[in-house]
């Protein structure tokens, strides 16, 4: 090794802790970015390949039962390429512990010749044998069953049937069972007919014709929406009711993909910021090193080194930091990507088999791992080595000749103990260093507080949502039934305290300025209902309005050009009806268009006066167990009266399902907060220890005039506390706009509305404790080391 590289190697090894600090900070940055880009690449490749492998549909329409001739009719449309039908039956799965779980039972006409959204064999029998069920693979994490076990399923009419688990299937078109807390089961068409009593289907999946898309000149997604509306109108004219707005898939993207992209973007933004922090640390440490080595730079130049050679040496050092960090970070980020991709895959029912990251991910990591340290070091190195030989040889290490207004003001401070005063003045002595240190601390603190605030805002939004869904149990009937009978049957059920009957209809409304109309789900509810507590953005809730045809719309509808006082035209049962908007409620965790009105008004408009489609109940005690038990009793009671239940939901299950959905984001954000704490901590460690090391000679001078070691320690620790507090204060201020922006972004990405912003003071306080603690620790360690050196050693110290 040539002497100049030998010198750089020696500089790296002589202060191992400094070298380690820098390397670790880059490791964390590369790890964060590498894990996220790796996850992104794995998920992107695997999910899209998987999705293509199941012949994805363009859209899905859920209806009341229809027969295959209708499907054939749809398939004959020139805009349609392929049609696939399914029958879905909502039932209850009796668990061994006496509770029950929702189960969705599917069947298709011919499992072996499916055309769209293929259901694939995972293990065991396929297609499902007569009298047996196949269980979707993701349900295995929800219920403790295995192939060969027997399941007891309670049908909507209350009858129970036992089914043997004939095998395990994979149905990518369904979200993971754990997310919706629903078990998916698959039976033969014959078995389904036995269960439902008819041979109809109620789910129409179709793929648009590529040539028709091309001829339309439209984007595929917009064209699909147009065709879905055509199909919807066509089948409604034939007496089949479309029970929910059509689901339009984004071409090439599997279900849930948009949320994953949003999640990865959020994580990517925060992860990249850790790299910025690493950059600050490198700038700080290289700047300090160059200040310490100014004389050495002068000597090297005096013996013939060109500035470019000296620049090359120190950039070589930065490059070494990057290379060393990459050696550690690359395998770690590979593991991180594998872990995160696995979690995301499980949550979205992506059966990922190949966790290998593409070479581009490694290239990205290598490039940023090498470029960021060198780029960060570039300016301090150029500035530090541009010094002339004479200036370099005259250098006293650190600048003490400042005489700014600030210095003059601090010089006038009186009445403060001298060591505290010294700490205070020292804090502002090297302003360039202080600015860099504060930038590191501020950014780290701001992001740390932001991460906690986004997490807090997510929980606040979740609370809002759960307040909005202010019921214990919701029961959706398969048709409209006499409300009086339903109330009479259910009100006396054990633990039920209140019962409300609602009506519901999914129809269409005219969107101003747009040719196509849009879907809307309308709820008719008692005026005095307390089972929904909306967050009003404008106007009043229906209870406070005396407008006969008044409706409250959610913010999704409002965004399409409606406000309080406007009139909406909604087509109900084929007839246009006029409604006056009296209020706008915030949409929470929903992309759907929703409107609420008085029960009487809606029931009358759809000719269902005195009938109910939804039951909302309160129970006491209001716990998960009681709610589940009430669902069982209500389902059974209604079934006994020939009132069929389509779907039930308990507040606890809803809460648990939402928590599951957001856990991955919350856990990822907290993991990033941990990484930030590490990088930010390394930043504090680096900068505070530099301050001490740089003043080794001063420590010697102070000791030579009688300062005890504890007094010297005190001066540095108080200085560290000053810096930590200023950084914390600025970081907390900066966190306000950053966290608001990120909360809004996360909310918009996940639910089409900003999150309920809730600044997390505990995150900021935690960072204060962490920042000051680390600043004190990393001031204490080098000053303690300095105190162990002899006076002669300290006075001759050369970094």
């Amino acid at each position: 090794m040539s002497p100049r590289w030998r010198k750089i190697w020696a500089d790296l090894t002589v202060n191992k802790s400094r070298t380690l600090l820098v390397i670790l900070s880059i490791v964390v940055g590369v790890f964060a970015v590498g894990s996220i880009t790796g996850t992104s690449a794995i998920i992107d490749r695997e999910s899209k390949e998987l999705w293509q492998s199941v012949n994805p549909a363009s859209a899905v329409i859920i209806t009341t039962p229809f027969d295959l001739s209708l499907a054939e009719q749809i398939a004959a449309m020139p805009e349609v390429d392929t049609v696939q039908v399914r029958r879905v039956l909502n039932a209850r799965l009796e668990m061994a512990d006496g509770t029950a779980k929702d189960v969705q039972i599917f069947s298709v006409p011919d499992y072996q010749n499916m055309t769209l959204n293929l259901i694939q064999a995972e293990s065991g029998a396929f297609p499902p044998p007569e009298g047996a069920v196949l269980i979707e693979r993701s349900a295995l994490s929800l219920i403790d069953v295995a192939q060969g076990d027997t399941l007891t399923i309670t049908l909507p009419d209350g009858t129970q049937s036992d089914f043997e688990i004939g095998g395990i299937a994979y149905d990518l078109s369904q979200p993971a069972a754990s997310v919706l807390d629903v078990v998916y089961a698959y039976v033969s068409p014959q078995t389904m007919q036995q269960l439902t009593g008819d041979a109809g289907y109620n789910t129409l999946q179709f793929r648009v014709s590529p040539s028709a898309v091309a001829a339309s000149g439209m984007e595929e997604e917009a064209f699909t929406e147009q065709v879905a509306n055509m199909i919807r109108d066509s089948i409604q004219q034939q007496g089949v009711i479309v029970v929910a707005p059509p689901v339009i898939y984004t071409p090439g993207e599997p279900p849930g993909y948009i949320f994953i992209v949003a999640l990865l973007v959020v994580l990517g933004v925060v992860g990249s910021l850790t790299f910025v922090l690493s950059g600050f640390l490198i700038v700080n440490i290289i700047s300090a090193l160059l200040v310490q080595q100014t004389r050495q730079i002068g000597v090297m130049k005096a013996v013939g080194a060109r500035t470019s050679q000296v620049v090359g040496m120190y950039l070589g050092m930065a490059l070494f930091f990057g290379v060393a960090a990459l050696i550690i970070a690359l395998p770690l980020s590979f593991l991180g990507a594998r872990l995160l991709a696995g979690v995301i895959g499980d949550l979205n029912n992506y059966k990922i088999t190949d966790f290998s990251a593409p070479p581009s991910v490694f290239v990205v990591q290598i490039v940023i791992g090498l470029v960021v340290p060198v780029a960060s070091a570039l300016i301090p190195v150029i500035l530090g080595t541009r010094v002339s030989v004479r200036e370099a040889l005259d250098s006293r290490g650190i600048d003490t000749d400042n005489n700014s207004l600030f210095d003059r003001i601090t010089a006038r401070i009186r009445g403060v103990p001298r060591p505290i005063l010294l700490s205070f003045r020292n804090t502002f002595r090297q302003k360039g260093r202080l600015i860099l240190t504060l930038m590191t601390l501020t950014l780290a603190g701001a992001i740390f507080a932001t991460v906690f605030t986004v997490r807090n805002s997510l929980f606040a939004t979740l609370d809002d949502y759960l307040r909005y869904e202010n019921y214990s149990v919701s029961v959706e009937l398969d048709n409209a039934y006499d409300a009086g009978t339903v109330v009479q049957l259910t009100q006396s059920i054990e633990n039920v305290t209140t019962v409300e009957t609602w009506t519901q209809v999914t129809e269409r409304f005219d969107v101003p300025g747009v040719d196509e109309d849009a879907d809307i789900t309308m709820f008719g509810l008692p005026t005095e209902s307390q089972m929904i507590l909306p967050i009003m953005q404008a106007g009043t809730w229906i209870a406070e309005s005396d407008v006969e045809n008044g409706i409250v719309i959610n913010s999704n509808v409002a965004e399409q050009g409606f406000g309080v006082g406007d009139t909406m035209t909604i087509i109900l049962r084929g007839e246009p009806t006029e409604w006056q908007v009296v209020g706008v409620a915030q949409a929470i965790f929903s992309f759907e268009n929703i409107a609420w009105t008085r029960y009487d008004t809606l029931a009358s408009a759809i000719n269902e006066v005195g009938l109910a489609r939804i039951l909302r109940m309160d129970v006491s005690p209001n716990d998960a167990q009681t709610q589940a038990e009430v669902v069982e009793r209500v389902s059974q009671t209604l079934a006994d009266a020939d009132i069929l239940v389509n779907r039930t939901e308990t507040f606890s299950a809803l809460e648990s399902s939402l928590n599951t959905r957001f856990n991955v984001l919350v856990i990822s954000l907290l993991s990033l907060a941990l990484l930030l704490a590490v990088v930010g901590g390394l930043g504090i460690a680096g900068t505070t220890s530099i301050n001490v090391i740089e003043r080794m000679r001063e420590i010697g001078v102070m000791r030579s005039v009688g300062a005890a070691n504890y007094q010297i320690l005190g001066i540095f620790i108080v200085e560290a506390v000053f810096v930590g507090m200023i950084g914390w204060f600025l970081g907390s201020l900066l966190a306000l706009p950053i966290s608001k922006t990120l909360s809004d972004g996360v909310g918009n990405a996940f639910s089409n509305a900003p999150l309920t912003y809730s600044f997390d003071v505990s995150g900021a306080v935690l960072w204060l404790v962490l920042a000051i603690g680390l600043a004190v620790l990393f001031s204490y360690l080098p000053s303690r080391r300095a105190s162990k050196l002899t006076l002669r050693e300290v006075l001759s110290y050369e970094g």
């Binding site: 050495q296 000597v299 013996v303 013939g304 060109r306």
Partner: protein, 243 residues
């Protein structure tokens, strides 16, 4: 003997908080190859500034500095560094060895920067130079393991690394005891015998008396420029007067 160093009407003015300070005032100087020149004077007289003009470490406010016929003031910094590395060896009062390099690595450093000699030859030459200064046994020690005199000898070996014709030393013995200073001086005399040219700033009048020429600087001007021969003549005259 050709002229190696030539200063023509060199002025140097420093701007300080207290105002302008003229460190050199119209210096004219020629030093021939093979001369051993001592620059003497009180603190603040301008000795170090003068030597910094010759090395190119500092530049004149007015006038020209020529080394071996090449004007170095106005030369670009990178080119000057290479020129200095090839043509001059500099020895500092406080040795200025790189603390993390061993003695032999410190000596190899100028060869490395100037890309002089092959990789294998550099170590060989550095060891030879250390042997020349009597430190072959200490080649692999870092500076902190060497005494002041030993460090200065390593610095001399480093100054000779690229075999420059000119050595410039700023108070090379100022930080050493008299016995060690004498050893260093003997090294310089050997180098003069080998054909090198040395310009040395010193406070030590005894050492100054042993050089071939001494320049006395005061208030930024050369007030005396005496060769050894002139000193003998002057000494003889003084003795005659006294007797």
């Amino acid at each position: 003997m050709g002229t190696l160093i030539e200063l023509k009407n060199v002025h140097k003015v420093y701007k300080t908080a207290a105002g302008e300070f003229p460190a050199l005032r119209g210096i004219n100087l020629s030093v021939n190859e093979g001369e051993f020149v001592a620059v003497i004077g009180k603190s603040g007289s301008g000795k170090t500034t003068l030597i910094n003009m010759i090395t190119g470490i500092d530049y004149p406010t007015q006038g020209d500095v020529l080394i071996a016929g090449t004007k170095i003031n106005g030369m670009k910094e990178g080119k000057l560094a290479q020129f200095r590395g090839r043509n001059m060896g500099i020895i500092f009062q406080f040795f200025q060895l790189l603390p993390t390099l061993t003695a032999v690595e410190n000596v190899m450093l100028p060869m490395d920067f100037l890309n002089m000699y092959s990789n294998g030859e550099r170590r060989e030459r550095a060891l030879m130079l250390l042997e020349q200064v009597g430190l072959a046994d200490h080649a692999n020690k870092v500076p902190s393991m060497l005494s002041g005199g030993q460090q200065q000898r390593v610095a001399i070996a480093r100054a000779l690394a690229n075999d420059p014709p000119l050595l410039l030393a700023d108070e090379p013995t100022g930080n050493l005891d008299s016995k060690t200073a004498d050893t260093i001086f003997q090294l310089f005399e050997n180098l003069i015998n080998q054909g090198k040219t040395i310009v040395m700033v010193t406070h030590d009048n005894d050492l100054a008396s042993r050089v071939s020429r001494d320049l006395t600087v005061s208030d930024g001007e050369i007030i005396a420029d005496e060769s050894r021969q002139n000193r003998y003549v002057r000494a003889e005259k003084s003795e005659a007067v006294l007797s």
